[in-house]
């Protein structure tokens, strides 16, 4: 490969990957919109009756039906729905009367805060545990890590959350209970980013900050545990793969210390697939937040969806579903793209 040509072809293959990425992203998002549209159409609730009531005269019914576009062919209805969804118009929420998008923008930072903290906890503990299990393969430590992971896979998140609340909040009083902040503190700062921890810290409201920390500890640790179960298991299997490679033997023969071989050489090579795993677990935490937020009265997207569900507020449910689905898709594809960019073996 000549130098100049190499750069051009590398750039071309990079652009091709980006184009592929955009196409996959677009079709998947289109599919998401189609699925939510379909779900919205199978709802047994008649949207016209929901607006005009069941005693409305026939001409009012017909006019509202026309205004809602329900007399058009399905494909045309879908086209309208799609155009609105692309411009961020998911209709108004029946429950809050705000546009669904406004509601989602308001609640999303809370979910993001929780999922991010959970992923950080899961990564910081999960990776060392996984490495330890791989290095001490077959020993008691390995078995313990495996069982810890299996419990994480098996335990219902809502039950563990309730039991944690019972123990650490009600019985021991170590942490604050449900909610993001005590009422006393909730007017001591102005929301800027929507992430309470950052807002209070930046405005120097240390009492409010520590109160928020105390509130977030339990749900964040809970999500962190579920993320840890997944990350430690994958780290172990990647590390076992790397430790069996010849370069590890070469590094050992060179006389490098075992710590250096494991943490600098083997883990570095396992890091690339690990990024994918961390992104995936982040995406799953967005989903796990639905149940966690319900238990901890955490005013995020998950609680918004379940509240709307219980009030048959379909616009809000579908809008929320679409946003979580889109975040999921983007995170998955980003991790895939990142993997291709970082791993030299996939550059061909």
């Amino acid at each position: 490969m000549s130098r100049g040509g190499g750069h051009v072809s590398a750039l071309r293959s990079f652009l091709k990957k980006i184009a592929q990425f955009v196409i996959v992203l677009a079709t998947t998002l289109l599919g998401l919109v189609a699925v939510t549209f379909f779900i919205g159409r199978v709802v047994p609730i008649d949207p016209v009756i929901a607006i005009v009531g069941d005693r409305a005269p026939a001409h009012v019914y017909a006019r509202v039906r026309q205004e809602l576009g329900l007399d058009l062919p399905l494909i045309q209805q879908f086209w309208i729905y799609l155009k609105k969804a692309v411009s961020g118009d998911f209709g108004n929420s029946v429950l809050t009367t705000n546009p669904v998008l406004t509601d989602i923008v308001n609640v999303f930072p809370a979910t993001l805060e929780l999922a991010t903290l959970g992923t950080i906890i899961g990564t910081l503990i999960g990776i060392p545990l996984g490495v330890l299990a791989a290095v001490k393969r077959g020993t008691l430590i390995d078995q313990c890590v495996r069982v810890l992971g299996l419990i994480g896979y098996s335990i219902p998140i809502f039950w563990l959350g309730l039991m944690a609340l019972l123990l650490f909040y009600a019985k021991l009083g170590w942490v604050e209970g449900p909610g993001r902040l005590d009422v006393t503190y909730s007017y001591m700062y102005t929301p800027v980013t929507g992430i309470v921890l950052i807002d209070t810290l930046m405005q120097g409201q240390m009492d409010a900050f520590w109160n928020a920390v105390s509130h977030v500890t339990l749900p964040a640790c809970l999500l962190g545990y579920f993320s840890l179960a997944y990350i430690s298991r994958m780290t172990r299997s990647f590390m076992l793969n790397e430790l069996a490679q010849e370069y590890v033997i070469a590094a050992r023969v060179k006389g490098l210390s075992e710590i250096r071989v494991i943490w600098r050489h083997a883990l570095r090579n396992a890091a690339v697939p690990l990024i994918t795993v961390i992104a995936l677990s982040y995406a799953h935490l967005l989903e796990g937040s639905v149940l966690t937020e319900t238990i901890f009265a955490w005013p995020g997207l998950g609680q918004y969806i379940t509240n709307s569900l219980q009030n048959a507020d379909m616009n809000a449910v579908l809008g929320g579903t679409l946003v979580i689905g889109a975040a999921f898709v983007v995170l998955n594809l980003m991790s895939d793209l990142l993997y291709r960019l970082l791993d030299p073996r996939t550059r061909s």
């Binding site: 998401l32 919205g40 299996l150 896979y153 219902p156 809502f158 639905v290 929320g320 689905g325 999921f328």
Partner: protein
């Protein structure tokens, strides 16, 4: 074969099982199953998981005999409400004065029913989509796999939530919703397996004999994909149980007074601080059963896919 099977000593039977030259297809299959069983039983955690699942089956079958009280009808609301665990009520009673132990026992039937129905609905869909996509290739493959990816892109619980919201709460709709969200991984696996066999010589031979495409897919490709898909379904069962329990907890699964474990935890939430057992016991049941399925699935994977075990 009959003469070989009637050998009296167990050692002889073992030798027959492990014979390097099996005389019949059955002997070879039994021999493989025996080897698999030996690998499986070497893993104590997997055996433990199997025991839990068997116990669940037994409890579900004999619920009538095991449960001392009715799961639906409660006792005296003035005296028997929210009693702590005791000799009369092993796991205490709930807010309707019902015996929690009896409800947990009967709840095993619902859990088992959900797992079975979801597998029975989702497995054929996944197999069909995956094998057809893999065998036909071309645009059929592209369309079916894009569809699969779209369903994979949705987080499972959220998609199931949206479906149940549309269909209305209830155990049947919860089962349908979970099945709709379960098939994509099975389709992926079936497609991968199909791609491995579609160009093999025996498929070419069947084609030359004039077999139709459906015949090749259903008669020759599907049987080869079934075992890996079933392993995946087993691995998924814990997830199915957890999703069903999550839906039940949110009030979208089985409706009261059905003794569904997730819904029971939701009831217990109101009495969490003073009567912790109402929420704790059914949740513990969900945990134990899904742990059992996870351990069993892990062990099965080690047996059937030695590559993954390493």
């Amino acid at each position: 074969m009959t003469s070989a099977a009637s050998l009296p000593q167990p050692a002889g039977f073992r030798a027959w099982l492990l014979s390097p030259e099996p005389a019949s297809r059955w002997q070879a299959r039994l021999g493989r199953a025996y080897l698999g069983w030996r690998t499986f039983t070497k893993n104590p955690l997997a055996v433990f998981g199997l025991c839990i699942v068997l116990l669940l089956l037994l409890v579900a079958v004999f619920a009538n005999f095991l449960a001392p009280y009715s799961p639906i009808a409660g006792g005296d609301l003035r005296t028997a409400r929210l009693l702590p665990p005791s000799a009369a009520h092993w796991l205490g009673t709930d807010d309707q004065a019902r015996d929690i132990y009896s409800r947990v026992i009967y709840g095993s039937r619902i859990t088992l029913w959900v797992v079975l129905l979801v597998s029975v609905i989702a497995t054929p869909i996944g197999l069909l989509v995956g094998t057809v996509a893999g065998y036909l290739g071309g645009w059929v493959d592209t369309v079916l796999m894009r569809l699969t990816d779209i369903f994979l892109a949705f987080p499972r619980l959220v998609l199931a939530l949206a479906f149940v919201a549309a269909l209305g709460p209830g155990i049947e709709n919860a089962i349908i919703a979970i099945a709709i969200t379960s098939w994509p991984p099975y389709a992926r696996i079936a497609r991968a397996e199909t791609l491995m066999v579609r160009n093999s010589d025996f498929i070419a031979a069947v084609k030359l004999q004039g077999a139709s495409t459906p015949r090749i897919i259903f008669g020759h490709v599907v049987p080869l994909c079934i075992s890996s898909v079933i392993v995946r379904v087993t691995l998924d069962m814990a997830g199915i149980i957890l999703t069903a329990a999550g839906l039940g907890f949110l009030g979208l699964g089985a409706q009261p007074p059905m003794p569904e474990w997730g819904a029971m935890v939701a009831t217990g939430r109101n009495y969490l601080i003073d009567q912790w057992w109402v929420a704790a016991m059914p949740g513990l049941a969900i945990f134990v059963v899904s742990l059992g399925f996870n351990l069993l699935g892990d062990g099965l994977r080690d047996v059937l896919d030695p590559k993954a075990a390493k």
